[in-house]
C-alpha cells in the first residue's frame, strides 16, 4: 500500500456552527454581487456530475427577467453506485437548506423545493423537522423563502433536470427540448436554479470559509473536495470526502483489494477505466468527472456482465421518447448478447460502437447521450471479454 494517503477532507460533514443557521444569517446581509463574486472566485462547479460552473448558472438565472423564480435541490440520486446525497441529507440537512436559501436570495426566488428520490422516503420525517426549523428561522430573519419537499416516484430519468420539472408539474417525466434552459424556463416555465445536494453544501461552506480557503483544495479545473460513494470490490466500501484532482492509481492503492482490474467512475453513465490507465487518469473535470460513484472491479468480475447489467438498466430507465435512446439501448444490449452467443461476428461490435457514438450525438438528453460512455469504454478496453 502507498505511504502517502489521500487527503481526507471534512468540509461537507464537518461540525455545524453552534448557532443555528449562522452562515445563512450572515450571508444574506451581503450583497448579491458579493456572493456571486465569491462563488465565481471559488471556481465551484456542479457536483451532480456535469460540472457546470455554479456562479454562472446563478448569475444567468438572476438576470432572467421574471417575477417568479425557483430554487430546486436535485436529490433524485439515482445513478447506480451513488449514495452520498442520502448521507448528506441525513447528517447535514441544515447546510443544504442554507445553500438553497442563499441561492434563493441571490436569484430572487420565492420558493425552494427539494426533489427527493422516492426510495428515500424514509428520510422524510427528520428532513421535515429540519425544514420546519429552517422555515421558522427564515421568517425570523426576514427571508421570504420557504422550502418544501417533493417526492419522486422512482424513475431514474427524473434526475435529468427538465424531466424533473415535468415530474414536479405533474406530468410524465420526460426531458424537454433545450433550449430553453432552466435559467430562463425551468419549473413552471420560470427561471430556475437546479443544483445537486452537494453543490448547495459547497456554497454554504464557501460562504463560511471564503473562496480563498476553499481554493486551497483541488486543482485549477476542479476546485474543492468531493464526496465519493465507494463500492464494489473494496475492503472498505462507504462514503469518503476526498480532494478533487487525485490520480486514480492512488485511489485504487487505498481503496482497492490488490486485484483491481477496472474502476467505473461516475456510475453506469460514467467511464470505465482499466488497470493500465489508472496511472494517467485524474478524477476531476480535467480528467474523468464523477457525480461521486466509484465502483471497483477485481479480476473475478466479467466486464461483459457489468456492461450487460448497465445496458439493461438504461433500456428500462430510458423515458422512451427519443429514438436513439429508446431503440439504441435495446440494440446495444441485444447486440452484445448476439456477439457473445456467436450469432453475430465480433466485427459487429464496431457497428455497435458507431451506434453508441450516434446516440451520444443525437439523443435528446444526457441519459441517452451518456450511454456511450460506459459502452465504449468497456467495449474498447475489454473486447476479449465481450467476445469470448
Amino acid at each position: 500500500m502507498s505511504e502517502t494517503k489521500l487527503k481526507r477532507v471534512d468540509l461537507i460533514f464537518g461540525e455545524y456552527s453552534n448557532v443555528k443557521y449562522k452562515v445563512l444569517t450572515d450571508t444574506i446581509k451581503r450583497s448579491n454581487d458579493e456572493i456571486l463574486d465569491d462563488l465565481l472566485e471559488s471556481g465551484l462547479r456542479g457536483r451532480g456530475g456535469a460540472g457546470f460552473p455554479t456562479a454562472m448558472k446563478w448569475r444567468l438565472t438572476s438576470q432572467s427577467p421574471s417575477a417568479e423564480k425557483y430554487v430546486i435541490c436535485n436529490a433524485d440520486e439515482g445513478e447506480p453506485g451513488t449514495f452520498k446525497d442520502r448521507e448528506i441529507l441525513t447528517r447535514v440537512p441544515r447546510k443544504v437548506l442554507s445553500g438553497m436559501a442563499i441561492c434563493g436570495k441571490v436569484i430572487g426566488a420565492q420558493r425552494g423545493y427539494i426533489y427527493l428520490r422516492g426510495e428515500y422516503k424514509f428520510l422524510l420525517p427528520d428532513l421535515m423537522k429540519e425544514i420546519e426549523t429552517y422555515n421558522e428561522h427564515a421568517k425570523s430573519i426576514g427571508l421570504d423563502f420557504p422550502i418544501e419537499v417533493r417526492l419522486g416516484s422512482g424513475a431514474y430519468i427524473c434526475g435529468e433536470e427538465s424531466a424533473l420539472f415535468e415530474s414536479m408539474e405533474g406530468n410524465r417525466g420526460e426531458p424537454r427540448n433545450k433550449p430553453p434552459y432552466p435559467t430562463t424556463s425551468g419549473y413552471m416555465g420560470k427561471p430556475t436554479v437546479i443544483n445537486n445536494v452537494e453543490t448547495f453544501v459547497n456554497v454554504m461552506m464557501i460562504m463560511r470559509l471564503g473562496p480563498v480557503q476553499f481554493k486551497l483544495l483541488g486543482t485549477t479545473d476542479s476546485r474543492g473536495s468531493k464526496v465519493f460513494s465507494v463500492s464494489g470490490d473494496t475492503p472498505i466500501p462507504g462514503i469518503y470526502e476526498l480532494e478533487l484532482g487525485m490520480p486514480l492509481d492512488r485511489f485504487v492503492d487505498e481503496f482497492g483489494d490488490g486485484d483491481t482490474k477496472a474502476v467505473q467512475v461516475g456510475g453506469a453513465s460514467g467511464f470505465c477505466v482499466p488497470r493500465k490507465k489508472f496511472k494517467d487518469t485524474v478524477i476531476g473535470f480535467e480528467g474523468v468527472p464523477t457525480g461521486g460513484s466509484m465502483m471497483l472491479f477485481n479480476s473475478s468480475r466479467s466486464m461483459y456482465n457489468v456492461l450487460h447489467n448497465y445496458l439493461e438498466f438504461f433500456e428500462e430507465e430510458s423515458c422512451g421518447q427519443c429514438t436513439p435512446c429508446r431503440v439504441g439501448c435495446q440494440q446495444l444490449r441485444k447486440g452484445i448478447e448476439a456477439v457473445k452467443k456467436g450469432d453475430k461476428k465480433s466485427l459487429y461490435l464496431d457497428q455497435l460502437l458507431k451506434l453508441s457514438e450516434s446516440m451520444k450525438l443525437t439523443a435528446k438528453c444526457g441519459l441517452g447521450q451518456s450511454v456511450a460512455n460506459s459502452f465504449s469504454s468497456i467495449v474498447y478496453n475489454f473486447k476479449e471479454e465481450m467476445i469470448y
Binding site: E317, C319, G320, R326
Partner: protein
C-alpha cells in the same frame, strides 16, 4: 399593433450549407432551411402540432457544438453555422432510421399504408437496405386493437413519434391516447390499456390523418363493398358527402383544392354502383328539420316560457362531436338537435322512401356512403341507426378508401368525363355543399330560418354570410337581429339570435365549458369535430395541414357559389319528399326516420 410587433422582431443571421439567411428570432433551424428550399427530413414533426423533437431524424450539424441538434426544436442564433448533409449527419440519420425500422414491423407489402408511409419514404431515401441492426419486433408481444368499427391500432407498426398523442390532446382535447410505460416498454396506449372502443376515443380519426406509419388506420370496408357491387341480387346505392368532392382528387394525385364532383360521380358509376346519390340532399333536409326544431325550441322558450326547453341547441351532424359530448358533457345531451346526421337520414330514407319509389325490396338494397370521416363508421354501427328496419347505412368508406377503389378499378380519374348524380335523392344546393366546412351548417340554417321567419332573403351579398364562416383554430361568435318578422313569428321580433361556431374538439370543449359555467348565452351552436370542419375530417386524404385545408375550404365556397340553388328549402327534391312521403317537418314520419336519441357515456 400586431403587425408592428411582428416587424420589430429581431433578425438573426445564420449560415445553412454555406448559404447565408436572415430570419426572425425564434425561428427554428428547420423553418430557416425550408426558406432556402433545403429539405431536412422529419418524422415526428407536424405543422399542426407542437414540436416534440423526439424522433431525432432531423438532426443537423452545428459548428462548434459537439452534439447534433434536432432542427425542428432548435431555435436559430446569431452566427450559427449549420450543415444539413455532412458525413456525421448522414450516418446519424441513417442510424436513426435503421433503429426505427428495427422496432417497426416492416412487412410493407401487407400494410394498408404501403406506398404512402412516411417511414417507408425515409427508408427508401436513405437506402437502408443493409439492415444494420437486429430485429426487435419479436421481443415485444404486440396485439392489434381491431375491436373498433372505425379505427385499427397496430402497435407493432408504431414508431412512438407521439403525433397521435399530441393530436388527441392538443387539437381534440380528448386524450384517449397517451404514453404508457417507459424505456423499451414505452408505448402509445389508452386508459388502462383498454381497447379503443371502450375509452373516450371519439373515432374522429385525426390521429389516423397524422400517423406516419400504418399503426393507426381506418377499418376499411373495401372488399365488402366490392362483394356487394358484384352481387347481382343486390342494388347498391352510394351517397357522397359534401367534403369528399373537394378532396378526392388529392388521393388520386391531383393538387389540393380541386373540385372533382362530376368525375367522382362518373367514377362511382364505373365502379358499378347502381345509383349514385348525394348526401347533400339530406343535408338540405337536415336544415329543414333542424331549422324547424330550433324555431320550435325558441317558441317554447320565448312564447310559452317553458322552463324545460333546452337552449342553446347544438348541431348533431358530426359523429365525433356526438361521441365527445356523450362522454364529456352528458348533462347537455338534451341540447343536441335530435336530427340524425345527413348520412343517417339518407340511410333511413334509402331503405324506405327510395325503395318505395324505385319499387325495390329493402332487404336487397345495400347502402354505402363515402365520407370524409372515420367517426361515420362508428355512427352507422350505432344500434339506434336501424329505423328503416334494416341497418340504414351498411358500409361507410372514407375518401381515402374510395381513392383506393378507383385505383383498383384502373380508372384514370383525371380524364374521366363529368357526370351528374342520379335522381331521386341526388339533388343538391349550395347550402348543403357548405356543410363540409366549419360554419357551413350555421350559414345554411340561417339562409333558411331567416327567410322562413321574415319572408325575405337574408340581407348578405350573394347570400354569403361571412360573419359565421368559421376559421380554423378559433371560436367564432355572431349574432343576427330578427326584424319585421311575419305575424306567425311575432315572438321573434327584435330578438337577437346568438350563434357560435367551433371546429376541432378542443374548441368545442371550450364552448361547452362556457355554456356550463353560464358564461355564454347562445341560441344555436355549431360544432364540427375536426379542424376546419369535415374538409379536415379523419377520413380525408393524407397529408393534411393548414395550407391544404384552406385550399379545400376555398373549393367548397366556390362549389357553393356555382350552384344554381343556394338555399336548402328550395331543393326541389326536398320539397317533393315532404309532399310525397314525410308530410311536414318534425312530423310523425320525420320523427320515426330522421330523428334520434343519444347515450350518456362515462369519461373512464
Amino acid at each position: 399593433m400586431k403587425n408592428t410587433n411582428k416587424d420589430m422582431k429581431k433578425q438573426i443571421n445564420l449560415t445553412i450549407d454555406g448559404i447565408e439567411v436572415g430570419v426572425d428570432e425564434g425561428t427554428t433551424i428547420l423553418e430557416a432551411a425550408r426558406k432556402l428550399n433545403i429539405h431536412i427530413p422529419t418524422l415526428c414533426y407536424h405543422e399542426d402540432l407542437c414540436v416534440a423533437g423526439n424522433c431525432r431524424v432531423c438532426v443537423v450539424e452545428q459548428e462548434k457544438v459537439k452534439s447534433l441538434p434536432a432542427a425542428c426544436a432548435m431555435p436559430v442564433s446569431e452566427g450559427m453555422v449549420i450543415h444539413t448533409n455532412s458525413m456525421k449527419v448522414r450516418l446519424a440519420r441513417k442510424h436513426i432510421v435503421e433503429l426505427l425500422l428495427s422496432e417497426h414491423h416492416a412487412d410493407c407489402t401487407k400494410c394498408y399504408k404501403n406506398g404512402i408511409c412516411e417511414l417507408q419514404g425515409l427508408a427508401s431515401q436513405m437506402l437502408t437496405g443493409d439492415h444494420l441492426f437486429l430485429d426487435l419486433v419479436p421481443d415485444h408481444k404486440y396485439t392489434i386493437d381491431m375491436f373498433n368499427t372505425a379505427i385499427i391500432k397496430d402497435d407493432s407498426r408504431c414508431i412512438r413519434c407521439q403525433r397521435c398523442v399530441r393530436t388527441c390532446e392538443e387539437l381534440q382535447a380528448v386524450s384517449a391516447l397517451g404514453v404508457a410505460y417507459r424505456g423499451n416498454h414505452m408505448k402509445i396506449s389508452t386508459f388502462f390499456e383498454h381497447p379503443l372502443f371502450e375509452v373516450v376515443c371519439t373515432n374522429c380519426g385525426q390521429c389516423v390523418n397524422r400517423c406516419p406509419t400504418g399503426a393507426l388506420i381506418e377499418r376499411n370496408y373495401i372488399d365488402q363493398v366490392w362483394d356487394a357491387i358484384y352481387d347481382t341480387n343486390k342494388h347498391v346505392v352510394v351517397q357522397t358527402a359534401p367534403a369528399v368532392r373537394i378532396a378526392l382528387g388529392e388521393a388520386l394525385g391531383m393538387p389540393p383544392g380541386k373540385i372533382v364532383t362530376g368525375r367522382m360521380v362518373a367514377a362511382l358509376k364505373r365502379l358499378g354502383f347502381d345509383s349514385v346519390l348525394d348526401t347533400d340532399f339530406t343535408a338540405d333536409l337536415t336544415i329543414i328539420e333542424e331549422g324547424n326544431e330550433l324555431l320550435s325550441r325558441l317558441k317554447k322558450a320565448l312564447l310559452d316560457k317553458d322552463p324545460k326547453v333546452s337552449l342553446p341547441m347544438a348541431t348533431s351532424c358530426s359523429p365525433g362531436w356526438i361521441k365527445f359530448i356523450e362522454h364529456t358533457f352528458p348533462e347537455f345531451l338534451g341540447n343536441l338537435s335530435t336530427c340524425k346526421s345527413p348520412q343517417q337520414m339518407f340511410g333511413a330514407l334509402v331503405k324506405t322512401y327510395y325503395c318505395q319509389k324505385r319499387k325495390l325490396d329493402a332487404k336487397n338494397v345495400v347502402s354505402v356512403s363515402i365520407m370524409p370521416c372515420t367517426a361515420k363508421k362508428f355512427e352507422a354501427n350505432r344500434p339506434e341507426m336501424r329505423s328503416s328496419g334494416y341497418k340504414d347505412v351498411d358500409y361507410v368508406l372514407t375518401t381515402r378508401e374510395l381513392g383506393i377503389m378507383i385505383k383498383q378499378a384502373g380508372l384514370d380519374f383525371e380524364s374521366l368525363p363529368e357526370e351528374h348524380f342520379d335522381s331521386i335523392m341526388g339533388a343538391s344546393t349550395g347550402a348543403a355543399v357548405i356543410f363540409g366546412t366549419t360554419g357551413g351548417v350555421m350559414e345554411a340554417a340561417i339562409r333558411t330560418v331567416y327567410e322562413v321567419v321574415t319572408g325575405r332573403e337574408i340581407p348578405f351579398e350573394g347570400l354569403n354570410i361571412t360573419p359565421v364562416r368559421g376559421t380554423e383554430g378559433e371560436v367564432r361568435e355572431a349574432s343576427l337581429k330578427l326584424e319585421k318578422v311575419k305575424p306567425e313569428w311575432s315572438f321573434l321580433e327584435g330578438v337577437e339570435l346568438k350563434c357560435v361556431v367551433a371546429n376541432g374538439l378542443a374548441h368545442a370543449k371550450k364552448v361547452m365549458q362556457d355554456v356550463k359555467d353560464g358564461k355564454a348565452n347562445y341560441h344555436f351552436i355549431e360544432i364540427m369535430a375536426c379542424p376546419g370542419g369535415c374538409l379536415g375530417g379523419g377520413g380525408q386524404p393524407i397529408p393534411t395541414n393548414k395550407d391544404i385545408r384552406t385550399k379545400r375550404k376555398q373549393a367548397i365556397y366556390e362549389e357553393d357559389m356555382g350552384m344554381s340553388i343556394r338555399k336548402s328549402h328550395e331543393n326541389p327534391e326536398v320539397q317533393l319528399i315532404y309532399k310525397e312521403f314525410l308530410g311536414q317537418p318534425l312530423g310523425h314520419k320525420s320523427h320515426e326516420l330522421l330523428h334520434t336519441h343519444y347515450t350518456p357515456r362515462k369519461r373512464y
